[in-house]
């Protein structure tokens, strides 16, 4: 049996291959779901054969971003809070040959950056965006988010949240993203496949993952510090797109739909359209 210290020195092969060892361990709280999603992302990257030379990680601000920032062995670009899609637009237009994987949060993407998100979907910018939805502002200590469930008690809704939560996937579909899906952090295989599909899809791929936040969502909303309790709550509050058809409207209330919402291949995006424009109007 090895000592605890030795166990910690074992480096996962995906970490050696893709991440900065000096940035490990990352700063996620114990029981946080973000690590699971990063793991799935690395497996998707690995299975597709992407490299640290051709792929850039882009972040915003919040747990999603602070935990993943400057861990990628290639280039890391971390935007101001909410500006991730604006930054990604500049990056992708300047370097259409590179793959961009975005890590954003429900506050970053759904609140302060909502408008940029809508317009990135409308432009169908060819990037893969992974939204970590923990239903709360984690990094700042448990304030209500636009994704917090109705009734949720948080540090800024001591009497319970009176606002309905935002469905970011429906928003992405309506705004024109090519690929939109939602999973739980424990839907490991579907999540890996979904990220792969997202990377391969031309246009904006938006993958929302419901991640457990025992530190803040657990503490304030569910009154628990146990990750498994938060996971149990998530499990009880999701239905698949297939299952939902058999539910009565009142049974759908407060449920997160899980699955692929859209996968369209017929809508080109701003990157290709700009290339076409240049072919037509560029003078030698």
């Amino acid at each position: 049996m090895s000592a605890v210290g030795e166990t910690l020195n074992v480096i996962h092969p995906l970490v050696s291959k893709y991440l900065r060892k000096e940035r490990m361990p990352h700063m996620a709280c114990p029981g946080c779901g973000i690590g699971q999603v990063v793991h799935a992302t690395l497996l998707a990257i690995d299975e597709l054969g992407l490299t640290t030379q051709d792929t850039v990680w882009v972040q915003g601000v919040g747990c999603s971003s602070r935990i993943t920032y400057s861990t990628w062995l290639g280039d890391n670009v971390d935007a101001h809070h909410g500006r991730i899609f604006a930054v990604a637009t500049g990056l992708k237009m300047a370097r259409p040959d590179l793959n961009f994987i975005l890590f954003t949060g429900d506050g970053d993407c759904g609140a302060i950056g909502g408008n940029h998100f809508i317009h990135a979907c409308r432009r169908n910018l060819d990037v893969t965006a992974i939204l970590f939805n923990n239903g709360i502002y984690g990094m700042t200590g448990g304030q209500v988010a636009p994704t917090s469930p109705i009734g949720a008690v948080t540090t800024t809704t001591p009497y319970g949240n009176i606002e309905d939560p935002f469905d970011m996937c429906q928003l992405a579909v309506a705004a024109g993203a090519s690929y939109v899906a939602r999973w739980k952090s424990t839907d490991f295989k579907p999540l890996i496949n979904s990220i792969k599909k997202g990377i391969q899809t031309k246009g904006l791929a938006f993958i929302e993952v419901l991640v457990q936040c025992p530190t803040n969502f657990g503490r304030y909303v569910l009154k628990t510090n146990q990750p498994q309790e938060v996971l149990k709550w998530i499990k009880e509050h999701v239905v698949t797109l297939k299952e939902v058809k058999n539910l009565r409207p009142e049974e759908r209330q407060g449920k997160y739909l899980i699955g692929e919402f859209i996968h369209r291949t017929d809508r080109s995006g701003i990157v290709e359209r700009y290339q076409e424009l240049l072919k037509k109007y560029k003078k030698d």
Binding site: N76, D78, A79, A86, T89, A94, H116, Y274, Y281, K283
Partner: protein, 387 residues
């Protein structure tokens, strides 16, 4: 590069000259949001950039446009955005990201009468301090150039791009509605005769390259590797180590703040650009900048015709402020009249500070809408000259 430049003599607005200056400087990415009085620049670039293989986007707002240009510059393209008044307020949010990560970009402010929406179509000069100090958090130096004519709008835009590369920082072109909308002759020389600084690239392999030179804060002409070049760069909103990793250490914060300030103030000799007229024997000086320098200069000419020993001084690089040059003016003259299009006295305050009490400093302000008229300034000169 040179084929992108269209040499010749034109009769255009300052806003259009800015667009051509940007193209001549190698700008290949522009993101903007419509706003008066500078939509003409966006419109000109929307036509011209695709012709030279560049990208021109109209973003959803000012925040998106400044962040997009910063990112495009990180991606390797020289980039610019433009705005005025309320749009500049929004740009200042993204400006901090550009400053902190030492991203070369050019931001153009065509000032209009404010505050808030003010008078969208008419001139003002109220952003002198807000562009310098408006990005929250402090701890940075800033470079801003101010043109007085269509020709200077072209020339100084190129200079802004060069300084952005040399100093690895955002550089402002602080224009105003008078300059933006004045239609007058513009001479565009052959591209080959223009001095254009290209992005400076590292000469050492990635493992030896220091992205942020915190231990040599004064260094300029420092390379900026872009994404996709194998350097594994880290760009973020956080206080960073020399590698770009987020840090909460006081020592690192101190070093980073010093880097952002010292790279400017330790190289002040490269950042002095002023115009002087009749200063040799002057006993009284008039100071103005941007479009308002024109009526000020006309008033000085009127005073000279009347035999008054009045000189004219104009900062062209307005930030960093030319303290030493103003101090020299103050040593020479009895009084200085500062003419600017704001009531609160922004340039006047800087002139008073730099004069260190060696001369009396007087403020001739206006809320904007109309520029100063030469007669207005002349009357003030005459009144103060006598006393």
């Amino acid at each position: 590069m040179s084929s992108a430049v269209k040499p010749g003599k034109y009769f255009v607005q300052g806003d259009e000259a800015i667009a051509e200056g940007a193209i001549a400087a190698g700008c290949r990415f522009f993101a903007g949001y419509p706003i008066t009085p500078c939509s003409e620049t966006s419109e000109a670039l929307a036509r011209r950039l695709p012709e030279v293989g560049g990208i021109c986007l109209q973003m959803e707002d000012e925040l998106a446009s400044i962040h997009a240009i910063c990112a495009a510059s990180v991606g390797g393209l020289k980039a610019m955005t433009i705005s005025s008044g309320p749009g500049i307020s929004l740009k200042l949010e993204g400006l901090g990201w550009g400053i902190k990560n030492e991203i070369p970009i050019v931001v153009v402010d065509v000032q209009r009468a404010g505050p808030s929406n003010g008078v969208a179509t008419r001139v003002g000069q109220g952003d002198f301090y807000s562009i310098r100090y408006g990005s929250a958090g402090g701890n940075y130096g800033l470079i801003a150039l101010s043109p007085k004519s269509t020709q200077e709008a072209f020339d100084l835009t190129i200079e802004c791009f060069n300084l952005a590369e040399i100093f690895r920082c955002p550089v402002f072109l602080l224009a105003d509605e008078t300059v933006g909308h004045t239609r007058e002759p513009l001479v565009i020389p052959e591209g080959s005769s223009l001095k254009v600084i290209q992005r400076i690239k590292p000469t050492v392999p990635p493992d030896q390259f220091i992205m942020y030179p915190l231990d040599t804060p004064q260094v300029i002409y420092y390379p900026f590797p872009n994404i996709g070049e194998g350097y594994g760069i880290c760009v973020s909103p956080y206080t960073h180590t020399s590698k770009g990793y987020a840090s909460t250490s006081q020592e690192i914060q101190e070093k980073m703040a010093k880097r952002l300030v010292l790279k400017i103030i330790e190289n002040l000799d490269k950042l002095v650009r002023v115009e002087r007229q009749y200063m040799e024997d002057a006993e009284f000086a008039v100071v103005a900048y941007g479009g308002n320098a024109r009526p000020a200069m006309a008033a000085v000419d009127m005073a000279r015709e009347k035999g008054m020993k009045v000189g004219f001084f104009r900062p062209i690089i307005v930030w960093p402020f030319p303290d030493r040059e103003i101090s020299k003016v103050a040593e020479k003259v009895k009084a200085i009249l500062v003419c600017e299009l704001n009531i609160d006295g922004q340039l006047s305050r800087e002139v008073a500070r730099a004069s260190q009490g060696k001369a009396g400093v007087f403020h001739l302000g206006s809320g904007g809408v109309e520029p100063h008229f030469p007669a207005q300034i002349f009357n003030e000169i005459r009144r103060l000259y006598k006393s």
